[in-house]
Symmetry: C2
Subunit: 461 residues, 2 copies
């Protein structure tokens, strides 16, 4: 038989491994010293000593009169396996975290927003000057549960312009577009539910849905919207509760929904229990309006959300939800319970900026600038044998196929060490071929160094 010290170590190792494998969960009671001794065929004093040493390491805790318990930290909801910044695995949060962390010197063709000086800075400055003279309640009070009434009236009129009929009392403001989707998920989903997303889709949908502990089912996205027959099969096979998609300009592909696809999707949804969330965040980039599911459906099963982070300012947070009248009050309760009232300042500043006559001119200039940068980026990428999957009508994204044999995640990690943040296909899709794709933000791709670094990484593949 092994020496006593070795036996103690063996008992400690066994208990540690049960905790790591979660056979013993945090907070559960360990077997009594006697029972453990019998089970492990060692002496009681060996177990006593092993328990005491594990307690000294804070792996288990002793409760006098009650026994030993598996200690914390309690198992928290980790969305990712964290590592040092550069080594972190490419997961749905990879691009967001890298892009948000960056210092100004880093180039970020992978990020999902415009350069700071492409946004509506002049409008925001004017709004702040106006607000500095606003009435006291604007500056110091909570917003009403649904949020700024005048902004909701404006949103109602804007939505009418793309065929979506939502009364102001069917609209609720949220902290951001992501927050709007999160509230809807909290309202409609339970852990284990199934949710459809486009494949590929905006990577943060994957991260968000992971936080809701639901199962994600991808439906292949075509240049005209989701593949209708795959959508039908997914409905039949999975009975999903929700489908989350982008309307207007799709992220990451830049594609737009065709009217016939929109109609077929909604007909299929009618035979099911599905609710659809349509994220219209890129609405103001469009040069001609694509069909909106919410317009065809009349907000029966489609919930329409949006924000102005992409065209006015990401520093001024404000999103919105347009939905059925009978759901809006429950969503307001949920918002108050989880973030309390919204602020008035952000919504007031947004209203001022949106109704400023300069905003329309800002958008016109923005669209021209994006179109020209789109052409330029296509040419530069093609010189590296990187080909657009389609040429979008508008917007900032180009979804591209890398040269044969390339691995997007490897290239993204290599470029990050050279100060270039890319958006590899793996962040947008769980499909096996996702690593052949990469999303480029044309507005963030003006710097020639991006293509030099990328070219070197492709050669080293």
């Amino acid at each position: 038989m092994a020496r006593s010290g070795t036996r103690i170590q063996a008992v400690m190792a066994e208990i540690r491994s049960r905790i790591v494998s979660r056979t013993c969960l945090p907070g559960t009671r360990l077997p009594s010293v006697r029972a453990q001794a019998r089970a492990m065929q060692v002496s009681v004093s060996t177990v006593v000593e092993a328990y005491e040493r594990l307690a000294a390491e804070n792996i288990i805790t002793s409760r006098p009169g009650s026994g030993f318990y598996v200690a914390g930290p309690v198992a928290p909801l980790a969305l990712t396996q964290l590592g040092p910044r550069l080594d972190r695995e490419v997961d749905p949060l990879w691009v967001s975290r890298q892009s948000l962390e960056i210092e100004a010197a880093v180039l970020k063709p992978g990020c999902g927003w415009l350069p700071a000086d492409w946004l509506y800075e002049a409008g925001v400055r004017r709004a702040l000057r106006t607000l500095a003279r606003a009435d006291t309640p604007e500056l110091t009070e909570y917003a009403t549960p649904l949020g700024h009434p005048e902004l909701r009236r404006l949103l109602s009129r804007r939505l009418h312009g793309i065929g979506v009929d939502a009364r102001p009392d069917q609209i609720m403001l949220a902290e951001s577009g992501t927050h709007a989707i999160d509230l809807i998920c909290r309202f409609l989903l339970s852990p284990g539910d199934k949710v459809l997303v486009d494949d590929p889709c905006y990577f943060n949908f994957h991260a968000l849905l992971k936080a809701h502990r639901v199962q994600v089912v991808g439906v292949p996205y075509t240049p005209h919207g989701p593949d209708v027959s795959c959508f039908e099969a997914a409905l039949r096979e999975h009975s999903p509760r929700l489908y989350i998609t982008n309307s207007g300009i799709h992220n990451p592909t830049g594609a737009s929904l065709s009217p016939v696809t929109a109609h077929r999707l909604l007909k299929l949804a009618d035979t099911s229990n599905l609710v659809i969330v349509e994220d219209d965040i890129f609405a103001d980039f469009e040069t001609s309006a694509a069909p909106r599911l919410a317009a065809f459906d009349g907000l029966e099963r489609v919930i329409h959300i949006g924000s102005f982070s992409k065209t006015i300012s990401a520093s001024l947070r404000c999103g919105y939800i347009a939905t059925r009248g009978d759901w809006i009050e429950s969503l307001a309760d949920l918002k108050i319970a989880t973030t309390f009232g919204g602020g008035r300042l952000a919504s007031e500043a947004l209203l001022i900026a949106l109704t400023d006559s300069g905003y329309r001119k800002h958008l016109e200039a923005l669209r021209l600038r994006l179109a020209s940068q789109m052409q330029r980026t296509i040419v530069r990428l093609e010189s590296l044998d990187i080909r657009p999957w389609l040429v979008p009508q508008a917007g900032m994204f180009l979804w591209c196929r890398l040269p044969p044999g390339s691995d997007a995640a490897d290239i993204a990690r290599a470029c990050l060490t050279d100060g270039v943040i890319l958006a590899p296909g793996n962040a947008f899709s769980q499909s096996p071929d996702a690593g052949e794709f990469m999303r480029f933000n044309v507005a963030q791709s003006a710097d020639e160094r991006i293509f030099e670094v990328l070219g070197r990484a492709l050669e080293g593949r």
Copy 2:
């Protein structure tokens, strides 16, 4: 045997009742027509007709080739039973919803914040003027994942002042104090977990925890903090994952934790797996600092949160979390997944207001004004035989016992019809005697009409 029409009705009634009782969940397939006919001992054609009629009512839906399914609306997470505004039941969201909805003419001694012109309006105006001249990224870009570095450095120094040692990289900004607690709950809790709260406690803790589908266990609150022996019994009996409490000035009682209670609580927690959230939202009202659990514990198991909605502005949303270094990155992932980046503007404005030399003077004047209004309100309430449970050292809340035989919820509903929003004890506690208590906000109790309306309601009891 009953007539065919009656049999169809009976089958429909049975299926409806299974759906209402959630024996049949939305999205699940109903038994085939044949199987249902056998089970209910009716003919196949009776079931076919019953299914068709239920489908016409949209209670079930038919999927060709697949059968009939229980239709939507999918069962959403309703935190409350909604009714018209005045009739709504008193639940944890009652006071928030009523107070946030109000028009200026309504009096609101029940609400949880100061009148608009008691807040730091001058500081907010100065901050907005300064921001109108800020650099472009401040106005248009997302914040970094943890939020404004300089504001986090300031918070670190402020926390040091009350004995809480948190490095800036142990602090993350959130949209609000409530949002901070919500993120922690998402990080640590799973549905069905048990959570301790004070009895009574801030009503929104009940609403928030309901949204997390956890079980709430109340621990009686004494003038020195939670009852330690009840706390110990609750730990033993329920193995809770979390305890959420207010430090500094307790809401609704106005009590403060004593050092000996703080020490005993933490000693008890050491024998368990408990994490403690300490909501320090009223910190700046204090005239002398009460002990903080986070200071005693060194942020091992205590998470410290706060915001400045109560002393600077509720229109400028920004909260914070101070916690262990190994938890902060996962909390940042969760924040990005569910609300994306925070805005820079709110945190920048807050930093300017906090570091403005006027803020200290604002607080001094505020504390004097609150103390004087506290005295005045006590006198007015005592004339109606409404007695404070204790006289708080500072803050805006008075937790009062109503005259014998009064029901706080009835009185609150009666006063609401007269334009006075009160905060009945039932919103803060699930205890049987909660209806004998009411919380008064002394800063919102200056208007004599409040006591007239209250007096009439008490007489009518």
